[in-house]
């Protein structure tokens, strides 16, 4: 199993100190998904579209591959959010590993 071979832990252990200058300096990430201007709007649109508020109550609609289309719409929107998140993680989460 993928364990580090060194005998000593390279990490400090937090013991309750509060140097807030150091805290706010350390928090700066080179690039992160939340700082992309398009990320949150696209996310919100996909989430809102996944809920069938725009359809009539009691409607079943066409059945496609076993599910009504409104269920498929929600699944496709979920897939969209998953792809968006993966793009965010791989493309826009960049940083030096502070460890």
């Amino acid at each position: 199993m993928n364990d580090r071979e060194e005998n000593e832990s390279p990490f400090p252990e937090y013991k309750g100190e509060r140097d807030m200058d150091a805290f706010w300096k350390a928090i700066t990430v080179k690039q992160e998904p939340s700082k992309q201007k398009w990320f949150l709007p696209v996310l919100i649109v996909l989430v809102v579209c996944s809920v069938p508020w725009y359809r009539s109550e009691g409607e079943m609609g066409y059945v496609l591959l076993g599910f009504p289309v409104w269920i498929w719409t929600s699944i496709v929107c979920s897939l969209g959010v998953a792809i968006l998140t993966a793009i965010g993680i791989f493309g826009f989460w960049k940083d030096d590993d502070p460890g």
Partner: protein
């Protein structure tokens, strides 16, 4: 359902015994690989996990017995609207990808072991730390309780009733405590890796069942619409249902994304690359797990009518037992799913228990009760606390069995409270003006509102199904007030600039 002995004989029991011995063996290996007797080594595996172990431990921890039992039962009861479960599991990882980069960076720089290390560092409030730990432990204890109930069902089903509910619970708990006590997070993550692989196998078999039996999904949908008289489960919900849908999304995305055992797993990552790859993989796992659980519950509507809430939580087992005599091949598949179910339950329970132990030890005992305790003393007290807690929860499981409590009710109880912690991470990592006092006030008011609404439900002020006004969950009402207080507090009474901040004071 499990009163009779099914046709599988003692083969599943032999399988279970082999599996449990392997788990103890892995626990022993974890102990041998321990490098030092420190909290970081025991509770975070020395922050050494590569992609393989980290991904599988995240997966096995996130997807529990509840996914295979509770989610399927809920899908059976609600029908198409429970498709919401796929989105909320995806959103959980999306939320982590939003605040995770900052928290991961801080955890590396300052050496956090528990989420409360960050909370105290960021806000400097003892009361906030204590209240957050209490809420998180409350949520996790409920989480464990729910898994213990699932353990009993799984072992009873697997053995065809030869091992009764409580014996099954006690047997699995003893094995789980053994490997966890031996190697801590390292053992838990390594057993999670095995359990994760079994879980993937189990869900793949469910997919096979969905696609092949009795005409699959299409035939089930036709039957639901035509014969079973339950077309409502295929129809678009009304406004009450839409509100509940949004409320469920908010509750789960904010609540599940602050699970302390999940946060501690990304403290355990060997590197940023390891973490990014694992999270990117995790975001697609709902399509292999939650979506299949939803579909299985959906198909079950066409097969079983009028199951009670308690019975419907076992609908996965009912579906499996329904097809068990089809062929020898199917019997082996069913055995595999049962073992995967046991694995899923154990992997989630051990992670939650380890997380509670770490918070009680690191955030409460070593700070407020025995600040001079050695690392070895802290580890011993954590293990002792874990054993006492689990003994209590096994007792509670027996009570739950007597009252036939639904698994979903237990989940809601934990999330409604845990979700109140979310501003600590979501706002605290991005907004400097947010002060400890504002967050403390927000968390207390949010939790108070949630409690009042639950009491209101118990007194019958709103309908029993939604347990809160307008079909919006009590936790979301509390969370709304919580965020409002944080925003107003941050604007009117901001956190002092760093140079003015005061070092840790007395409680």
């Amino acid at each position: 359902m499990n009163d009779g002995v099914h046709e599988l004989g003692i083969t599943p029991i032999v399988f279970l015994a082999v599996y449990l011995f392997v788990m103890i063996g892995i626990g022993w290996l974890g102990k041998l690989r321990a490098r030092e007797k420190s909290l970081r080594d025991f509770y975070l595996g020395g922050s050494s996990f590569g992609v393989f172990v980290l991904f599988l431990t995240l997966f096995a921890t996130q997807y529990s017995g509840n996914t295979m039992l509770g989610f399927t039962g809920r899908s059976y009861r609600e029908g198409g609207t429970y498709v919401v479960s796929i989105m909320f599991m995806v959103l959980t990882i999306t939320m982590i990808s939003l605040y995770g980069p900052r928290l991961f960076r801080l955890s590396r720089k300052f050496g956090y072991i528990t989420p409360a290390d960050y909370i105290y560092h960021r806000f400097g409030s003892h009361w906030l730390r204590i209240i957050c730990v209490v809420l998180l432990c409350w949520g996790l204890a409920n989480y464990i309780l729910e898994q213990l109930v699932a353990m009993g069902h799984a072992v009873e089903g697997l053995s065809g009733g030869r091992i009764d509910f409580m014996t099954g619970v006690i047997l699995l708990v003893i094995v789980m405590l053994t490997y966890e006590t031996l190697g801590g997070m390292r053992s838990v993550a390594w057993t999670d890796a095995i359990q994760g692989i079994l879980l993937v196998g189990g869900f793949s078999i469910i997919l096979y069942i969905i696609l092949t039996f009795d005409g699959g999904l299409t035939a089930a949908t036709e039957k639901i619409a035509a014969e079973n008289g339950q077309p409502a489960k295929l129809q678009v919900p009304g406004w009450q249902g839409i509100r509940t849908w949004f409320s469920t999304l908010l509750l789960l995305m904010f609540g599940v994304s602050v699970y302390p055992h999940a946060i501690q797993r990304f403290f355990s990552a060997r590197s940023l690359t390891t973490l990014r790859i694992s999270l990117a993989g995790m975001v697609f796992m709902p399509f292999l797990t939650t979506m299949l659980a939803f579909t299985l519950g959906f198909i079950a509507i066409s097969r079983f009518t009028d199951l009670s809430t308690f019975e419907s939580d076992q609908v996965t087992l009912l579906m499996l037992l329904d097809i068990i005599n089809e062929s020898d091949f199917i019997r082996w598949l069913v055995i595999t799913v049962f073992v995967a179910l046991v694995a899923a339950i154990m992997s989630t329970t051990d992670s939650a228990l380890l997380s509670i132990q770490s918070m009680i030890t690191k955030d409460i005992y070593s700070v407020y009760i025995n600040p001079k305790a050695s690392q070895q003393g802290l580890l011993l007290s954590g293990k002792l606390f874990g054993w006492i807690l689990i003994a209590f929860l096994v007792g509670m499981t027996w009570v739950s069995r007597q009252t036939e409590s639904s698994i979903w009710t237990l989940i809601r109880l934990k999330l409604e409270f845990m979700v109140q912690i979310s501003p600590v991470f979501i706002l605290g990592l991005f907004w400097r003006r947010l002060s400890g006092r504002s967050v403390l006030c927000g968390v207390l008011v949010g939790t108070g509102i949630t409690l009042v609404l639950w009491v209101g439900a118990a007194l019958g002020y709103w309908d029993a199904a939604s347990r809160s006004p307008l079909g919006i969950s009590a936790g979301v009402w509390g969370l709304t007030a919580n965020y409002l207080i944080c925003f107003i507090g941050g604007l009117l009474w901001p956190e002092p600039e760093p140079s003015q901040s005061v070092s840790s004071g007395k409680i």
